[in-house]
């Protein structure tokens, strides 16, 4: 049984899980489309005074600003495997690309990390003026290591082991090496490399992104604008990614640190990635894992006549939850204090045919699961689809729940990161025993379904005379692996036209020596052969008379 069942077993597993994946995806897209436009965007009003308390140079007092964020409708399409794969690798902006900067023009600048040498390389064409004033262009290549920059690759420059770089647009280029645990500032024009002090080797200091803090920008639209068009010319606070005074550094915990580009030291906490309000409290899992997309915009106070350079005025961070149903914006002042928040929600007193009219804002994720027209049907459909999965996969999804990233939820075939059992594992507001009980309650329908399938398999096995051990193995297989195992049995089960046993009258298999019901030997009642036989022993070849060529038969 094992050798013949393995191929269709894998086949069934892949195809069944694929089918269930697309059904779950459809339910997810449908649910996402339930949200009205008002529940897909936030506008967080704030004033310049909130970002910098105290007297300002604004003669009119506070000018209202709006930090606006909006979920883009392509969310669920954008996270399936192909697009993120292709978007993560283009030179210059792919997050998984080692090419930090690339100008496609033939004489354009290119900066990339050469893993073989362990050095960051800058290539391009520069203009050189000779003493007599003539201009020549020559191609250059420069190599930067932790110890310096040179025109040729040199061991003395050292090696970057596992660098993370900023977008390499501003000077200097800020690099963090995860192995050396230091920040570096590479100034290509001055040919210098400065390094900061080493970070403590603990869980609290794990930088993952520098300066351009975003993930999956195609899912979010975030910006800062004036609340009133007439006042826009007076705007003094803008979002400016290319901040000079401070460099934003995202930590693996979701904390946003501020780095001084001169001293290359972390000088404070700028804020944190928001945790959108989802269906359940998910504080047990890592914030970064729970977020599908985020964008962080540093805010800059524009220079006035009195001030010189524009100054850091805080940051606005927007994050999109798993399943793309909840968006949260948080605004922090320059000291890292949260001054304003906003969550997507169904506004109060919003009614729709056949629905309720809430008097308070309902978080968008909650509304999408229970209140919006069709939401309850989709929630039941989601639960039913999850229950069709093998119980053992549901159990693994629960055990791995806190560790499964949001991105995995968009393209996972076997495990279910966005399932109810996984949500139960991530709940921070329950005790461990309660979480396990909750998970078991969610798995129970899947177990019952698997029991039903196992019963059907066993019944058919008895009917077709499968040995006891084989039946037991199939029962256990179907119990653990559910629908794929059942389909595997259907594909590989013995295919015989059963015949009626002459003794007991029940159906039996013709390929068995004895009836598996009554144990009698083989009798074929419909064939009645004669009782006589004329049988002779075969003669060995050497004892046989030689073959004669037949004579012509006149009667033929």
């Amino acid at each position: 049984m094992r050798s013949r069942s393995w191929p269709p077993g894998h086949w069934c597993r892949i195809l069944v899980l694929l089918g269930l994946f697309w059904l779950r995806w459809l339910v997810g897209v449908w649910r996402s489309n339930l949200l009205p436009a008002s529940a897909r965007e936030i506008a967080v009003p704030l004033s310049a005074g909130q970002l910098e308390p105290g007297p300002t140079d604004d003669p009119n007092g506070t000018i209202p600003y709006l930090v606006h964020a909006r979920m883009l409708p392509d969310y669920l399409y954008a996270f399936l495997g192909v697009l993120p794969y292709l978007q993560a690798r283009p030179p210059g902006f792919g997050q998984r690309s080692h090419v930090y900067r690339w100008d496609p023009k033939p004489d354009g600048l290119c900066v990339y990390y050469d893993a073989a040498r362990g050095q960051i390389i800058q290539q391009g064409i520069e203009e050189v003026r000779d003493e007599d004033g003539t201009r020549t262009f020559h191609r250059f290549t420069r190599y930067a290591g932790p110890q310096g920059i040179a025109e040729t690759p040199q061991e003395e420059l050292g090696r970057f082991m596992a660098p993370i770089s900023d977008g390499c647009v501003l000077k200097p280029q800020v690099v963090y090496d995860r192995t050396l645990r230091k920040f570096f500032a590479i100034d290509w024009s001055e040919r210098t490399v400065r390094q900061g002090p080493p970070l403590p080797d603990d869980e609290r200091h794990r930088p993952v992104q520098i300066r351009n803090l975003w993930r999956s920008p195609q899912a979010l639209d975030v910006g800062v604008r004036s609340a009133s068009r007439e006042e826009s010319h007076k705007r003094s606070v803008v979002a400016q990614v290319l901040l000079l005074e401070r460099v934003l550094v995202l930590d693996a915990s979701g904390r946003i640190d501020l780095l001084d580009p001169q001293t290359l030291e972390l000088v404070g906490v700028g804020g944190a990635l928001p945790t959108p309000k989802t269906l359940v409290d998910v504080s047990r899992s890592r914030r970064l894992d729970d977020i599908t997309a985020y964008t962080v915009l540093p805010l800059v106070r524009r220079a006035s006549a009195a001030d010189g350079e524009p100054s850091y005025a805080g940051l606005a961070a927007a994050a999109l939850s798993r399943e793309g149903l909840a968006l949260r914006v948080e605004v922090y002042d320059p000291n890292g204090r949260r001054v304003a928040t906003g969550d997507t929600a169904i506004p109060p007193h919003t009614g729709w045919p056949g629905g309720r009219t809430p008097s308070i804002p309902i978080p968008s994720a909650v509304a999408a699961y229970s209140l919006l027209p069709g939401a309850q049907f989709l929630t039941v459909a989601k639960f039913v689809l999850e229950s069709l999965h093998p119980p053992v996969l549901l159990l693994f999804s629960h055990l791995a729940g806190p560790h499964l990233t949001a991105a995995a939820g968009c393209r996972s075939l076997a495990l279910l990161p966005d399932s109810f059992v996984a949500m139960a594992a991530r709940r921070g507001d329950t005790r461990p025993a309660e979480r396990i009980l909750l998970a078991l309650l969610y798995i129970v329908p899947a177990v019952f379904f698997a029991l039903f399938l196992a019963w059907r398999v066993d019944r058919h096995g008895v009917h077709t005379g499968l040995p006891k051990k084989t039946r037991a193995a199939w029962r256990m297989g179907v119990l653990f692996l559910g629908l794929p195992a059942y389909f595997t049995y259907r594909l590989t089960r013995p295919q015989f036209a059963l015949v009626t046993c002459a003794n007991c009258g029940l159906q039996r298999r013709p390929d068995m020596e004895k009836c598996h019901r009554c144990g009698t030997a083989w009798v074929v009642p419909e064939l009645i052969p004669p009782a006589w036989r004329v049988l002779g022993e075969p003669e060995p070849a050497d004892e046989r008379a030689p073959t004669q060529i037949p004579q012509a038969n006149p009667q033929a």
Partner: protein, 308 residues
């Protein structure tokens, strides 16, 4: 070389719940021409197809040239020439292309012999197989089977569609094959005169069983057809076993008995028949007697034989 190129043990075959073969066992020794006979639907082609691995058995074991039929190697296939009933060839191919294909797949190809056959049969090389007549397809099939110089030749109604001359040519070819040392032929045919002419051993299938498996001479000596005339009405029961067939009309009884021996002779004589004449039988006559539906006497015989 195997002493028994073909071994069949307790072969059972069901088609969609209908039993065709019910425990067939026989052996074809090396160098033998085995004629497999039976009525339409008796299972001859089924046995041949199971032997060659074209059909899986329901139960039982078959061996060809020492290998299990369900696991025949390419080398074993290459040593067996097969002419199928209906002459299944690739209809859309031209003759030339089909020959080239078979030649490319064969282990050994007797180009001279094949050329001689093609000349004899005068088959057009540029015509498609589906455009050939039944007889020409049979000839082509035969030529392809013979060209590989087979150790074992399996022929399933090979002369179907052949005219008299072509049939004679085939028989001569078959003998030519058998005269090469160690060659064996298994063939089934409805033209019993051909079988009688060349077969060493005969097998007859009736109701899923092989009721005859012996040499032709043995068959003729062991199955007797007797015309018995009794002084008064023929007795209803002669207390003879292995009655193949029995017809009676008044005082006359025509009796076909298997495994005729002095004991049965003595039993018959106790009824003091007026006369008892043996009627000579050809293979065709024997076949008709063996495969005719059982009469009442035979049915009682079966009932008595099946009593413990």
């Amino acid at each position: 070389m195997n002493d028994n190129p073909i071994v069949v043990e307790n072969l059972v075959k069901y088609y969609e719940g209908r039993c065709v073969l019910d425990g067939v066992s026989f052996v074809v020794p090396r160098g033998c021409i085995f004629g497999l006979l039976g009525r339409n639907g008796s299972g001859k082609t089924t046995i041949i197809r199971i032997l060659l691995g074209l059909e899986p058995p329901t139960r039982g074991r078959t061996q060809v040239l020492g290998q299990d039929s369900t696991r025949l190697s390419a080398q074993t296939h290459g040593r067996v020439g097969y002419v199928a009933e209906g002459h299944h060839l690739i209809q859309s191919y031209k003759v030339r292309r089909l020959i080239s294909l078979c030649q490319g797949l064969s282990l050994r190809w007797n180009e001279e012999f094949f050329g001689h056959l093609m000349e004899t049969f005068r088959l057009p090389l540029d015509r498609k197989v589906k455009e050939l007549s039944t007889g020409m397809r049979a000839q082509l099939n035969l030529a392809l089977a013979m060209a590989i110089d087979p150790e074992l030749l399996v022929l399933d109604d090979p002369t179907l569609g052949l005219d008299t001359i072509a049939r004679r040519q085939f028989l001569e070819l078959a003998i030519d094959v058998i005269q090469r040392q160690g060659r064996t032929i298994l063939f089934s045919s409805h033209i019993l005169s051909d079988v009688e002419r060349i077969a060493d051993r005969i097998g007859v299938l009736v109701a899923g069983k092989l009721v005859v498996d012996c040499t032709l001479d043995e068959l003729k000596s062991r199955i007797k057809k007797l015309r018995v005339i009794f002084p008064e009405a023929a007795p209803p029961d002669l207390y003879l076993t292995e009655i193949v067939n029995q017809r009676q009309q008044g005082r006359e009884m025509v009796l076909t008995v298997a495994n005729w021996n002095p004991q049965k002779q003595a039993i018959l004589e106790t009824f003091r028949p007026e006369s008892c004449t043996e009627m000579p039988m050809s293979l065709e006559d024997i076949f008709i007697e063996c495969t005719r539906p059982a009469t009442a006497a035979v049915t009682e015989d079966v009932a008595r034989a099946s009593c413990p």
